[in-house]
């Protein structure tokens, strides 16, 4: 436990120091890379609530990540082209203000995860895994066949959306914005898992029947967790579009769902900092393996299989023998 806490501090330290070095040595690449880690970690923190703490194996979080991304892309696209998005109840031409985009993305993703959650939570086990996957695929195919926003080719927004008083095109500024969101996501997760509600959803993971028998409406609890989880992932998606200034159907692809899941598992499930470690490890692996071989995914697959077959507890779990022995 002590080592894990020590490690957690190191992770945060690295997330601060690497971009600072990048700033000092004028290597914006490292700032952008860290920003990417942070954004993916936020998505992982979202999934971790549902998957790690509540035991809801969602294989469709790309639906929320991608929708957050597309909402951002579409709003910004309309603002860029000064094109009417809808005319009722007011005329709305999209926006490129992050402060307006975020609440909209959050609302849309919350509504979407509410609908998907409501339908999916009627099932359990394998059916839940498959139905969440299928909903994400449904959106994926929709994004491919809907021509207005680029279809298969994706949608470019050219300029990052703006934030009052600062220049978001500056990598370090955008990194700071994402860092603030990471801290917020961590804070929300931390508060939730230590609350009465958190107690209920963590108990559901272990023994849902018991939780029902003490009179707690487990379906309602699971649905709320699912919505919060999906919304956080959606916000990460919004930031991801701004990072790349581009959004394409690949954010809705099931590989994205799988990768978000990998961040959570690699880092260690139901550990607050797990997704950050997982996302960082994933990106480091991608960068280092990618430098040596084009076929880095082969080695990634191999490492993952070995991890699942032999380590099981994730990277942070390696340092926490107590939980390991359970």
């Amino acid at each position: 436990m002590i080592i894990e806490k020590f490690l957690n501090k190191w992770i945060l330290f690295l997330l601060l120091i690497i971009p600072l070095c990048g700033l000092v040595f004028e290597e914006p690449y490292y700032i952008t890379l860290t920003t990417k880690v942070i954004i993916l970690a936020i998505a992982g923190i979202g999934l971790n609530l549902a998957l790690g703490y509540c035991g809801l194996i969602s294989f469709g979080h790309a639906a929320f990540f991608g929708t957050g991304g597309y909402v951002t892309g579409i709003l910004s696209f309309h603002a860029l082209n000064d094109e009417l998005l809808f005319s009722w109840p007011i005329e709305f031409f999209g926006t490129s203000e992050m402060l307006i985009i975020w609440p909209i993305a959050i609302l849309v993703c919350a509504a979407l995860s509410f609908i998907i959650g409501l339908l999916s939570l009627r099932t359990s086990g394998v059916y839940f895994i498959m139905i969440t996957l299928a909903f994400a695929q449904m959106l994926y195919f929709f994004s491919i066949s809907w021509p207005t926003y680029g279809g298969e080719d994706g949608l470019s927004i050219y300029l990052r959306n703006s934030f009052p008083m600062v220049n978001t095109m500056d990598p370090f500024t955008f990194y700071l914005i994402c860092l603030v969101w990471l801290v917020i996501a961590l804070f929300v997760s931390f508060k939730l898992i230590n609350s009465a509600f958190g107690m209920a959803f963590q108990a559901i993971k272990e023994n849902e029947e018991r939780v029902k028998s003490v009179g707690i409406e487990t379906l309602k609890v699971k649905l709320i967790v699912f919505v919060i989880s999906g919304t956080i992932a959606g916000l990460a998606g919004s930031l991801y579009t701004d990072l790349n200034r581009f959004v394409s159907p690949s954010v809705l692809d099931w590989h994205t769902s799988g990768e978000i899941m990998i961040f959570v598992i690699l880092g260690g499930m139901a550990r607050l900092y797990g997704p950050i470690v997982g996302a960082a490890f994933f990106i480091i692996l991608e960068q280092t393996l990618g430098a040596y071989t084009e076929n880095w995914q082969f080695w990634l697959g191999l490492i993952l299989i070995l991890e699942i077959l032999y380590v099981r507890s994730g990277i942070l779990g390696l340092f926490d023998k107590k939980k390991n022995n359970e």
Binding site: L51, I57, F59, L119, R122, T123, G125, V126, Y127, I129, M130, I131, L133, A134, F135, Q137, M138, F141, F142, I144, S145, W146, P147, T148, W254, G258, M261, I262, I265, N295, W296, Q297, F298, L300, G301, L302, L304, I305, I308, L309, R312
Partner: protein, 305 residues
């Protein structure tokens, strides 16, 4: 005119459905008997297609290529089952999902490494080229008809295998009660390997047959894998009968939806708009179908609740 088009598309849907059945039969068997979610099932589809393309390139024979797809996928299935999969049977669904997802990365990348990134082509033999008249006015592709025939033959074969043979009895016993079957003295790990290889072989065969009308490339197994999952969720996981009904349902719905929905919408919409919306909704139709079925029957049409 439209009725001819309709029948033609209906046949296309059935053809698509029978191929889906070859995929989903293995998937549902593997889940039913071993309790394993195998995301890497699509990789056997790809491996089968590549084996076929390789053998066809060397020998020039389509029939040898089909045989190679069966054998190649089965051998790959046995190897992967022994090396990796059998360690996953006792794990929870999450571990299975992740490990087999990782397996996809590994196998896809491995195939890309060996064969290169360019698609390969597998040509249809002359005897199956061209069209054949059915009834008086309807002309249909010989090869697609051949696929439908093969699909139905294999469905019947599977049915006989499961109901009439000793292996089938063991498979059914394994589906009902895993403890009992090992108590009966059946070598369970051998049975698991055989079932896994059978599933892989069926997937490989369908990969080769589809490979001849599309192209043989890395990642070709993924879209069909997801459809196969939709099929078994609709049919009820573990049920072969469900897989068959689900396959045809999904194949027909998907094909007809994509073709006719835009036309249907043109009745009360601008043509351009109708095409856009129709094709978008058409591509989502089977997922909507699945959601509707699961809302009314949470464990599928033929699933055990």
């Amino acid at each position: 005119m439209t009725s001819i088009l309709f029948i033609e598309q209906l046949l296309n849907g059935i053809q698509f459905g029978t191929m889906l059945f070859l995929m989903s039969a293995g998937l549902t068997l593997i889940f039913g008997v071993m309790g394993l979610i195998n995301l890497a099932h699509g990789s056997f589809y790809m491996i089968g297609a590549f084996c076929a393309a390789l053998v066809a390139g060397i020998t020039g024979s389509f029939w040898l290529a089909l045989g190679a797809s069966l054998c190649g996928a089965a051998i790959a299935g046995v190897l992967i089952e022994i090396l990796i999969i059998r360690r996953l049977y006792r794990r929870d669904h999450l571990d299975q999902v992740l490990a087999t997802f990782a397996l996809i990365l590994l196998l896809s990348e491995g195939v890309r490494w060996y064969f290169g990134a360019f698609p390969l082509y597998l040509s249809i033999p002359d005897s199956l080229n061209g069209t054949v008249p059915i009834f008086s006015e309807i002309i249909y592709s010989k090869y697609r008809l051949f696929i439908i025939l093969m699909g139905f033959l294999i469905a019947v074969g599977l049915y006989l295998l499961i109901t009439k043979t000793r292996l089938g009895i063991r498979i059914r016993a394994g589906q009902n009660d895993r403890e009992m079957i090992s108590a009966l003295g059946v070598d369970i790990s051998k049975l698991y390997t055989v079932v896994f290889a059978l599933g892989a072989a069926l997937a490989g065969l369908s990969g080769a047959m589809i490979g001849a009308i599309q192209s043989v490339e890395v990642g070709m197994g993924e879209p069909i894998l997801i459809l196969a999952f939709v099929v078994i969720v609709i049919g009820g996981i573990g049920s072969i009968k469900g897989a068959f009904v689900g396959s045809i349902l999904v194949g027909v719905t998907d094909t007809l939806g994509r073709v006719f929905l835009p036309d249907l919408l043109k009745i009360f919409m601008q043509p351009a708009e109708a095409t856009a919306i129709g094709s978008s909704i058409g591509s989502m139709l089977i997922y909507i179908l699945m959601a509707l079925i699961l809302i009314t029957k949470p464990s599928g049409l033929f699933g055990k609740s």
